[in-house]
């Protein structure tokens, strides 16, 4: 396997270009702080959606508790950063938050992932609700009032870095043998099991990896918005993430990315009509499910569209 293929260099180049353009626009002031918040939201939502997509879209395990893992990452990172207010503290917080979320993911995943479909959805929902209630009652998290004045170290550089890292790691995971095992579980659990795949192990693995990146997203959230309270991570937040995954297409990473950008733009556009925003959200969800249940991209990636052309060339 060569790492420096033409495709990889092009991807790397376009990421660097996108990073530089946004950085330039920020430094000359075209993107004011309002748009910067939108960009941060997009990055955090991309991480959340891609990681939920791994669990729900690729492994087929319907989770309604992603916000719970996000809150673990957010609180762990916030608590560490308030003790060590430096860039090292921030990085330590992100890593610790992510591992804490992954640990809880394994802990919760082992018993609940035996459940299927609707039951799993409700169990994960309940688990996220339990996590929220625990944070609400803890001393160190300052209960319902929440943590305020978390130092801000997450900037565009870190947001971009973690977003790209999440996409690359999850993409590589899906293309590994473990990832193919996860996809086979989605397609048919019984068949996968009879082919010798350890379904529990792979489900827990996907769940933990999803939780890990949800923790990263939470940590970035804590550091960027410097305010946390348990109510931010309720049932509605989990639904928000799910909407992105479903809109983009379950089983499509680029779909999640596109949907995260589209929905963030929609939110920004509807900023002054908060009441209408949720109605539009809900209506989008229902209409998509009725008319295009596979989402915008289905299970295809943007790159599939290019590869299609290449195959044609080869035939000629």
């Amino acid at each position: 396997m060569r790492v420096l293929t033409k495709k990889n260099i092009m991807i790397l180049g376009s990421i660097l270009l996108a990073f530089a353009i946004v950085q330039l626009l920020m430094s000359i002031g075209i993107l004011n702080s309002f748009y910067q918040i939108t960009i941060a939201t997009i990055c955090i939502n991309i991480i959340l959606a891609v990681s939920l997509n791994l669990v729900t879209g690729f492994t087929g395990q319907f989770s309604l508790g992603h916000a719970g893992f996000m809150s673990i990452g957010a609180y762990v990172c916030a608590i560490i950063m308030m003790r060590i207010p430096s860039t090292y503290g921030f990085l330590l917080g992100v890593i610790a938050g992510a591992f804490a979320a992954a640990f809880v993911g394994v802990l919760i995943g082992i018993p609940t992932l035996r459940l299927k479909g609707d039951y799993l959805a409700i169990a994960t929902l309940g688990m996220a609700e339990i996590i929220r209630v625990i944070f609400l009652n803890m001393e160190i998290t300052n209960g319902a009032a929440g943590l305020n004045g978390i130092p801000r170290f997450a900037n565009w550089l870190w947001l971009c870095f973690f977003t790209v890292a999440t996409i690359i790691i999850i993409n590589n995971f899906i293309r590994s043998s473990h990832g193919r095992a996860c996809i086979s579980i989605r397609e048919d659990e019984i068949a996968a099991e009879s082919m010798g795949i350890n379904t529990t192990k792979h489900k827990v693995m996907a769940f933990a990896l999803g939780a890990f990146f949800a923790g990263v997203a939470g940590a970035l959230y804590a550091s960027y918005f410097y305010f946390l309270k348990p109510d931010l991570f309720g049932f509605l937040k989990s639904i928000d993430i799910l909407v992105i995954v479903v809109l983009g297409g379950m089983g499509s990473i680029t779909g999640s990315v596109i949907a995260a950008i589209l929905l963030a733009l929609l939110t920004t556009f509807l900023q002054s009509f908060t009441a209408v925003r949720m109605i539009v959200y809900a209506a989008i969800l229902v209409v998509i499910m009725i008319f295009r249940p596979q989402g915008l991209m289905g299970s295809k990636e943007i790159t599939d569209l290019f590869e299609f052309r290449k195959k044609d060339d080869r035939i000629e």
Binding site: I122, E129, N137, L242, M278, I279, A282, M289
Partner: protein, 292 residues
Amino acid sequence: MDQFLQQMVNGISLGSIYALIALGYTMVYGIIKLINFAHGDVYMIGAYIGFAATTYANLGFFPALIISMLACAALGVLVEKIAYKPLRNSSRIAVLITAIGVSLLLEYVMMFFVGAEVRSYPELLTDKAFHIGEVIINMQQIYIVVTAIALMILLQFIVHKTKTGKAMRAVSIDKDAAELMGIRVDRTISFTFAIGSAFAGAAGVLVGIYYNSIDPLMGIMPGLKAFVAAVFGGIGSIPGAMIGGLSIGILETLVSGYGNSMYRDAAVFAFLIIILILKPSGLLGKNTREKV
């Protein structure tokens, strides 16, 4: 001991409300295998209709209850026809997501029209209270329990003694076979939604009277807890939903009475996870074997 009995009284009245909501969940799940997330919101709208009927039309308790039940039945059928029927043959996850979407839609459309603020219910029933020893039972609790029991008896009658009830049971056992036998499956499903939603509407009015305050997001938590109740009793089983509802109500009041009331929601969900792991078919549910 007295405090325990008092908690039991409170728990049973709260539990009857959960049981009424849980019945709707369990019937809909039994017939089309869908967790109708919007059910909690039908209950919320029922509470608002009851509020409108009593505050603006100055109606009494029973007319308000009946109007609310009828309106919710219509709403339930409407939701089923618009949102769920086109997805009859889609994947389970697609239907579940639609249900979540409908739930959000009802909440925020309602919030758009009536505002997010909490409203207080007018006093419909005398607040006379009976003292039995140290235990206080007030009039509202008696009304709640009696209404709930009456509705459950009515439901048992409909399901077991009428032709429509027989059709409902047939469809829930095997939809295709029922259709071959000449049962109109679509109509039966609509009827199930109508009954379930009517019960949710009744629960909404009862909760308005009991807690005296309503708001557009009030349906989320009771909806989820009623689902827990339905799972505990064995989903698809009507007596199971009643037992489950009462158990969850009692569990919740005991946790807030003896422990920390902040943990009562967590206790219900922890209970759910334990049931799902130990006995996923619930108390009275049937075990289904996985087929290839």
